[in-house]
């Protein structure tokens, strides 16, 4: 067998494998879309109506027009964006210090930060409810935001440190010769140059915040403050088989924003994540 035929056979197997992989990963979401576009009658016709005969947007209209769901989506958007912003405010100065300053115990600090990431959020949730209740931060978006920040900030700090490491320190020094102080260097030189890293860290924490379930489930009991992660869970609990097309539509509505946000910045996010993972 010549090398060329062998390569051809390899290509064939590669294609087969890629096809199988694609079907495995795409099928659940395609099925969800198919169900969400069906009428109640067609839902029970199974896979034979994978492409519905009478596709309808009725289900989406029903979900999106209900005040409840609009509220869930808005709350999730608010919580995830505010917490991502807060995360940057907290993580950026620290990342700058970790990248540029030499101080005692720096390595230990960085490792401590990483090990915080290893603690399951579930561990802190146990005492957190009573703690937050005692300082009056239950049923408030502020309280939930602070916890979101604490959960995401170690990883974001690592990512941002990686970004700032990539900016030559000589630029800092040049700016300081020109009369900038450290804060000036940070604000005028380092921040503008780390925009790609900041953007991906922001989106990563927005996506993380969007999928939060535990924190809001625990800290927020008022329906009007509930974000989508908890909202969809409670909605699923009230639905039965005869309204599965509505549940599918609701589920799709809760998933699509995260997917869109990810796809928009896919390249940046992957770069930032792998840099962190390979280093960490």
């Amino acid at each position: 067998m010549s090398a060329k035929t062998r390569e051809r056979i390899g290509d064939l197997f590669s294609y087969l494998f890629m096809l199988a992989t694609f079907v495995f990963f795409a099928w659940p979401l395609l099925w969800l879309l198919s169900l969400a576009l069906r009428t109640r009658k067609e839902v029970f016709l199974g896979v034979s109506r994978f492409i519905p005969k009478a596709p309808t947007l009725e289900n989406f209209a029903m979900i999106l027009s209900s005040d409840k769901f609009a509220g869930y989506l808005w709350n999730a958007l608010k919580l995830s964006c505010l917490s991502a912003l807060g995360c940057l405010i907290v993580a950026l100065p620290a990342a700058y210090a970790f990248s540029r300053f030499r101080f005692r115990g720096k390595g230990a600090w960085m490792m401590a930060l990483l090990s915080v990431q290893m603690i399951s959020p579930l561990v802190i949730m146990v005492p957190l409810y009573r703690y937050m209740a005692s300082i009056g931060l239950t049923d408030s978006h502020f309280g939930a935001t602070m916890v979101y920040i604490a959960l995401a900030v170690p990883m974001v700090t690592w990512i941002l440190k990686g970004t700032i490491d990539g900016i030559p320190a000589a630029l800092d020094e040049a700016a300081m010769i020109d009369g900038c102080n450290r804060l000036g260097v940070f604000l005028r030189v380092v921040l503008p140059l780390s925009t790609p890293g900041i953007a991906s860290a922001f989106i990563i924490s927005v996506i993380g915040g969007w999928s939060q379930f535990l924190v809001p489930f625990l800290l927020i009991t008022k329906e009007s403050l509930t974000p989508i992660g908890v909202g969809i869970f409670q909605y699923a609990g009230t639905q039965n088989d005869s309204s599965i097309q509505l549940l599918a539509a609701a589920c799709l509505v809760s998933v699509v924003p995260a997917i869109v946000a990810f796809l928009a910045l896919q390249r940046l996010i992957l770069g930032a994540l792998t840099a962190g993972a390979v280093k960490g």
Binding site: L122, I149, P168, S254
Partner: protein, 309 residues
């Protein structure tokens, strides 16, 4: 750093006044320390305190005792829960690692051979990864459903095969949960493996080709040894992620039927939020912490020595 900048920077830096050489670190770290301290570290410490009380979510006895510790660890259902957790974690981690590596290898090969569709495959896997856990559970519940709209059984029926009781057969349900977890989690391993494969020095492959190594030999003797630290780091990360997974399970099976898919994290959640047993939950949280720490140390022992990362 480009040499030109470096050489011009050295004399300048030497001319800087001393106070600029030793900047104050504390103000830069303060926000991070405050947020983590108030909303992370304090609760973690409180877990250790609560584990020694009989506290419940509704208040309860705050006196210190070791009986909670011993009673919780002696619960009759705990060995079963740990068994379920071990099976779920082991199966998920190995499948994710293997599948992630396989996809990364094929994608890298496909890119080299300019095959069609590598980007599509990669992106599809990543989309599944972004799906929130609760939604992922709901989606798979629709697929595994035994009603006509179940996305897997209706295919089986179309092909004339007998339907499968994905979620109600206690022997099968764990594998269904693992499949759904692999669906959502594999992309992470794929990305890490892809980055690690790209970082292998091509000279190694050239040398192997000169020595006449076949494709399987190249995989065994070049690729895998080069990937060793990446694989171990990845295994640490996904093991911890898997141990912490419970939102995808709670919305898929709720831990059932019976207790057949109730992993430790879900059990802890139930103990605290269904039975309001705060002290018992604290003990279980510590158990979880100890397990993840122990596993991380075991993996770390396999990391090549002397190599920092």
């Amino acid at each position: 750093m480009p040499p030109a900048i470096a050489s011009s920077a050295v004399p300048r830096a030497a001319a800087l006044p001393n106070r600029r050489q030793r900047p104050r670190v504390a103000p830069w770290l303060m926000p991070l320390i405050l947020v983590l301290g108030l909303f992370y570290l304090y609760p973690v410490l409180d877990v250790f305190r609560l584990a020694l009380t009989r506290a419940t979510l509704l208040g309860g006895d705050e006196g210190y005792t070791v009986s909670t510790l011993t009673q919780t660890l002696a619960r009759p259902e705990l060995p079963g829960i740990l068994g379920v957790t071990a099976l779920f974690t082991l199966a998920s981690v190995f499948s994710q690692q293997l599948l992630g590596l396989a996809i990364a290898l094929v994608v890298v090969r496909g890119e080299k051979r300019r095959l069609f569709g590598t980007t599509i495959v990669r992106t599809t896997a990543l989309i599944a990864w972004v799906v929130p856990g609760i939604a992922g559970g709901i989606i798979w519940k629709m697929l595994f459903n035994e009603a006509p709209f179940g996305g897997l059984n209706s295919i089986l029926r179309l092909m004339g095969a007998a339907p499968v009781q994905w979620l109600s057969d206690p022997d099968l349900v764990m594998w269904s949960v693992v499949i759904s977890n692999v669906w959502r989690g594999t992309a992470f391993s794929m990305v890490v493996m892809y980055a690690a494969l790209k970082a292998i020095d091509p000279v190694l492959y050239e040398a192997a080709a000169v020595d006449g190594a076949s494709a399987p030999q190249r995989l065994m003797h070049v690729t895998l040894p080069q990937l060793r630290s990446a694989i171990l780091v990845n295994m640490i990360l996904i093991t911890i992620q898997t141990l912490n997974t419970f939102d995808a399970i709670i919305s898929l099976t709720g831990g059932g039927p019976g207790r057949s898919t109730e992993v430790l994290s879900l059990y802890t959640f139930n103990v605290v939020f269904r039975n309001y047993d705060l002290a018992g939950g604290a003990v279980l949280s510590i158990l979880m912490l100890v397990i993840s720490l122990g596993l991380a140390l075991v993996y770390a022992a396999f990391l090549p020595k002397g190599e920092d990362r």
